[in-house]
C-alpha cells in the first residue's frame, strides 16, 4: 500500500524546502544540540543508580546469597524473575506502537514509533540482564550454549529473547537511516566523532528513489514480522511458568493473559514516555493532545481485554475452589497477599479501563497520572504472578525458619532492580540525546500525504 502511494517526485529530495519542514527539523534536532542542567542531573542520577546496582551485584556474588538475598528453597524465584517478566511485557510496546498501529492505518503512530522502539530495546536488554542476575552460577552462563537442551522452556526463551533484541535493533535502526542522514546534513557544532558516527551509520544514504523503495519494503517486512515475534516472546515467557506442575501457574490461559497484559502495560508506558519526552524536549507540537486522546482510548480497550483474561485466570478457578488452587487464591483474595492483589486490580485494571472513558481525563496530565500508576501497578502484577504462589506448594510447608515462609526482597535485590530501571531509562535518555527521538521523515511523510491530522488534531 505504501508502494502504491509512492511519489518519487515528492520524496526524492528530503529537503523539500518548506519552511515548515525546516522548522520541524530544527525542533526535532534540538534535543541533540542542547542539553540543559536538568538533563545532565538526570543522566548523572541514572548513572549513580546503575553504579549502586553494580555494587549490590558485586556484594551478592562475593558474599553469601543466604545473607544478601531473601530467596529460600520455597520462594526460589523472587523480584529478579518478576522484574524480568515485567521487562519482557514492557518490550511489547514496540510491537504495539510501530507495527500494530501502522498496519491498522492508525496514522498517529508516526511520531510515537521511535520512542516505543527504543523503550522496547531498553526493556528487552534489561530483561536479559535480570535473568542473568537471578542465576546461581552466572560464571556458567556459556553452558546454555555449550549444552543446550531444546525441550527446556529456558532454551526457547533464550532463542526468542536474542531474536527479539536483534529484531528490535533492526526495526529501530532501518527507519532511522534517513534521520541519521538528516543529522549528518543539518547538525553543526557537534563533536567530530559524533558527525563521523552519523556519517558511518547512515550508510551512504542519499535519499534517491531506489533507496526509499528499499527502505519502505524493508520496514514493511520487519513491521509484519515483529508481530508474531512479539506474540512469541510473551508466550514463551508465559510458558516458563505454565509448563510447571505448580497450581498457581498451571493454566492454559497463561499466554493470552501475558500477551494482553503486555499490550496494556505497553500502552500505559507509551503514555508515560510520551508525556515525559513531550515536556522535557518541548515537543508539544508533535506529541499532541490528540495522541493522548487516542492512547487513552487504546488503554481502555487493552485494559478491558486484560480484565477478561484476569477473570479467566482468577474467577474461574475460584468458582470451583479445588483444593489445588484454594490456598493460593484465598491468599490473594483475603489473605496475606490481598492488599497488594486488590490494589493491583484497582490501579492496574479498573482505573485504566474506566477513567479514560471520560474525555477530560484523556488530557495529557490526568492521563499521565493514570498511566504512571498503572505502570507501577503492573510491576506489582508481575510480582503477584511470580512470587506468592510459590509459598503454596502441593505439600504443606512445615517446620522451617520464619524467613522461609515469607519473602520480602532484600536491599541488594531492590537496588539491582532499581538499577535495571535506571539502565533502561539511560538507554532511552542517551538515545534521545544522540538521535532524533521523533522520526523526522515519518512525520513529514505523513504531512506530505495530506494527512495533517497526524500532528495537528482538529
Amino acid at each position: 500500500m505504501i508502494d502504491k502511494d509512492f511519489h518519487p517526485e515528492r520524496t526524492k529530495n528530503e529537503t523539500f524546502t518548506q519552511d515548515e519542514y525546516m522548522e520541524m527539523k530544527a525542533d526535532l534536532l534540538k534535543p541533540i544540540q542542547h542539553i540543559g542542567l536538568w538533563g545532565k542531573v538526570w543522566i548523572g542520577f541514572l548513572i549513580a543508580v546503575i553504579f549502586a546496582g553494580v555494587y549490590a551485584y558485586y556484594l551478592q556474588e562475593t558474599k553469601s546469597k543466604y545473607v544478601t538475598v531473601s530467596l529460600r528453597d520455597y520462594t526460589m524465584w523472587g523480584v529478579y524473575i518478576s522484574n524480568f517478566v515485567f521487562f519482557i511485557a514492557l518490550s511489547m510496546i514496540g510491537v504495539l506502537m510501530s507495527a500494530v498501529l501502522k498496519l491498522t492505518n492508525n496514522e498517529w503512530y508516526r511520531p510515537l514509533s521511535r520512542i516505543a522502539e527504543v523503550v522496547a530495546l531498553g526493556a528487552i536488554c534489561f530483561a536479559g540482564i535480570s535473568i542473568v542476575v537471578a542465576m546461581g552460577r552466572p560464571d556458567r552462563l556459556h553452558y546454555l550454549f555449550m549444552y543446550p537442551r531444546l525441550q527446556s522452556p529456558i532454551t526457547w526463551d533464550i532463542i526468542v529473547v536474542i531474536t527479539y533484541v536483534v529484531a528490535s535493533m533492526v526495526l529501530l535502526y532501518i527507519p532511522m537511516i534517513p534521520s541519521l542522514s538528516t543529522c549528518r546534513n543539518h547538525l553543526s557544532n557537534m563533536p567530530k566523532w559524533q558527525m563521523k558516527m552519523y556519517e558511518w551509520l547512515s550508510f551512504g544514504w542519499e535519499g534517491n528513489p531506489e533507496q526509499w523503495k528499499l527502505l519502505r519494503k524493508g520496514v514493511k517486512i520487519l513491521t509484519i514480522m515483529i508481530i508474531p515475534l512479539g506474540v512469541a516472546i510473551q508466550t514463551v515467557d508465559a510458558w516458563l511458568f505454565a509448563t510447571t506442575l505448580r497450581p498457581e501457574w498451571d493454566s492454559t490461559n497463561f499466554s493470552g493473559y501475558f500477551i494482553s497484559g503486555a499490550f496494556l502495560l505497553g500502552t500505559a508506558a507509551m503514555i508515560v514516555a510520551t508525556f515525559v519526552i513531550r515536556k522535557a524536549y518541548k515537543l508539544e507540537k508533535y506529541l499532541t493532545e490528540m495522541h493522548f486522546d487516542k492512547l487513552g482510548q487504546a488503554m481502555v480497550l487493552m485494559a478491558s481485554i486484560y480484565i477478561f483474561f484476569n477473570i479467566n485466570e482468577y474467577l474461574v478457578p475460584a468458582y470451583k475452589m479445588s483444593s489445588m488452587h484454594a490456598n493460593h487464591l484465598i491468599d490473594m483474595f483475603i489473605g496475606e497477599g490481598a492488599l497488594m492483589y486488590w490494589m493491583v486490580v484497582l490501579f492496574g485494571l479498573f482505573i485504566p479501563a474506566i477513567l479514560p472513558l471520560f474525555p477530560s481525563l484523556r488530557k495529557p496530565l490526568p492521563l499521565f497520572v493514570i498511566a504512571l500508576i498503572a505502570v507501577i501497578a503492573h510491576w506489582f502484577k508481575r510480582y503477584l504472578i511470580v512470587i506468592p504462589g510459590q509459598l503454596h506448594p502441593y505439600l504443606p510447608i512445615q517446620d522451617v525458619p520464619e524467613s522461609w515462609t515469607h519473602y520480602t526482597p532484600s536491599a541488594v535485590e531492590l537496588t539491582i532492580v532499581a538499577a535495571t530501571f535506571a539502565g533502561m531509562l539511560l538507554i532511552v535518555t542517551l538515545f534521545s540525546r544522540f538521535f532524533p527521538i521523533i522520526s523526522v521523515w515519518e512525520v513529514a511523510e505523513g504531512k506530505l500525504e495530506g494527512k495533517d491530522e497526524i500532528i495537528n488534531y482538529k
Binding site: 553469601s64 552460577r137 549444552y147 527446556s152 506442575l245 524467613s403
Partner: protein
C-alpha cells in the same frame, strides 16, 4: 599429611584391584546383590555367584568385581549403577516423627538444618480424618518434571531410576525447583555456616557422594544414595529410623529392606495397598507409601518447631 598418605595408599590398592578385575576376561555376568552380601575374598579363593539366568556358579574371586571396592572418589554422577532400579517403600503406619531419618541424612550428606533432603510432614486430609506423619523426599520420578525443564542437562534420569544432579553442570536457574511439585529440591545459597561444614566434609565411605551437594549456587536434593546402595550399604534415612519405616531396594530384584526385615516388593505393595503420592500429576514416583493403617504408635503431635534457627 599422614591421613592423605593412607588415603592414597588405599586408593592405589583399590586401583590395583580394579585393574585386576578389568584385566580378567569377565565372561561371568555377576549380579550386584544388594541383599545377599557376599564377602570379597582375596584373589585365588572361590566364590559363589549367581549368573543372569539364575544359576549359581563358583568362580575365582579375582573375576568378581565387588561394588564395595569401587573408589567413591571416582563416582561419575552421569553413570548409572548397572542392573539396578532403585525403589523405596515408606510404611506410614510406622512413622512417629522421631526425625532420625532427617538427622541421619543431614550428617551423611553434610547438610545443615534447616535444609532437609528428607522431611517429615504432618498430614491431615480433613478434620475428621486421622492425622499421620508423612516422610517425603525426592521421589526419583520416572516421568520427572524437573529434568524436562533443565536447560543444560544438569539434572537427568539415569537407567537405575535415579534423578541425578550434576553440580558441575548446574547453572543455578532453579527452574527444576519451580517444576518439582513435591518441593523436593534445595538450592545452596552459600549459607556461611553451611560452607564451613561443606569444606570439612570428606568423601569417605560413610558419605554418599553421588551428588556434590556442597557446590554453592547449585541445586541439590535427595539422591537415593545409589553408590552406597550398590555397595550394599543402606541410606542413612533407612538405617537411622528406629521403627524401620523406610524400605529401600531394587525393583529388578523385587525386594526391599529396612535393614532388619526384607519383603518382596510386589507382594508388599499388593498386600498393603501401596500407593504413590499425587498419582494424578503423572510424575510416576519411585517411592511408594503404605497407608497409615495398623499403626505401631498412636499419633502424637510434634512438641514444637525444630527448625527455628534461621
Amino acid at each position: 599429611m599422614k591421613k592423605e598418605n593412607e588415603a592414597s595408599n588405599r586408593r592405589n590398592f583399590l586401583k590395583l584391584g580394579l585393574l585386576a578385575g578389568a584385566a580378567t576376561v569377565a565372561a561371568v555376568g555377576t549380579k550386584n546383590s544388594l541383599l545377599a552380601d557376599e564377602p570379597a575374598d582375596e584373589a585365588g579363593s572361590k566364590v559363589k555367584v549367581e549368573t543372569s539366568d539364575g544359576k549359581v556358579v563358583e568362580v575365582d574371586s579375582s573375576m568378581v568385581q565387588h561394588p564395595a571396592e569401587e573408589n567413591l572418589n571416582k563416582i561419575n554422577v552421569r553413570e548409572a549403577i548397572p542392573g539396578k532400579k532403585f525403589v523405596m517403600v515408606i510404611d506410614l503406619g510406622r512413622c512417629a516423627n522421631e526425625r532420625a531419618c532427617i538427622e541421619g541424612c543431614q550428617s551423611m550428606h553434610g547438610m545443615m538444618a534447616p535444609v532437609e533432603y528428607i522431611k517429615v510432614k504432618k498430614m491431615q486430609d480433613s478434620e475428621l480424618a486421622a492425622p499421620y506423619w508423612f516422610p517425603t523426599l525426592c521421589y526419583q520420578c520416572d516421568n520427572p518434571p524437573c529434568t524436562k525443564v533443565c536447560p543444560v542437562d544438569a539434572t537427568f534420569k539415569r537407567t537405575d531410576g535415579i534423578v541425578a544432579v550434576d553440580s558441575e553442570r548446574c547453572i543455578g536457574c532453579k527452574f527444576c525447583m519451580a517444576a518439582c511439585p513435591y518441593s523436593a529440591r534445595s538450592f545452596n545459597f552459600g549459607r556461611p555456616e553451611q560452607v564451613v561444614i561443606s569444606e570439612k566434609k570428606t568423601c569417605d565411605d560413610n558419605h554418599c557422594c553421588t551428588t556434590k551437594s556442597e557446590m554453592v549456587g547449585t541445586v541439590s536434593k535427595c539422591d537415593f544414595c545409589p553408590d552406597s546402595g550398590a555397595k550394599g550399604v543402606l541410606p542413612a534415612c533407612v538405617t537411622e529410623c528406629p521403627n524401620g519405616t523406610i524400605f529401600y531396594g531394587d525393583e529388578l530384584e523385587d525386594a526391599v529392606t529396612n535393614g532388619e526385615e526384607t519383603f518382596r516388593l510386589s507382594e508388599l505393595l499388593k498386600k498393603r495397598a501401596g500407593y504413590r503420592q499425587f498419582e494424578e500429576l503423572g510424575t510416576k514416583p519411585r517411592v511408594y507409601y503404605l497407608p497409615p493403617v495398623n499403626r505401631q504408635f498412636p499419633f502424637q503431635d510434634a512438641e514444637g518447631p525444630v527448625n527455628t534457627k534461621e
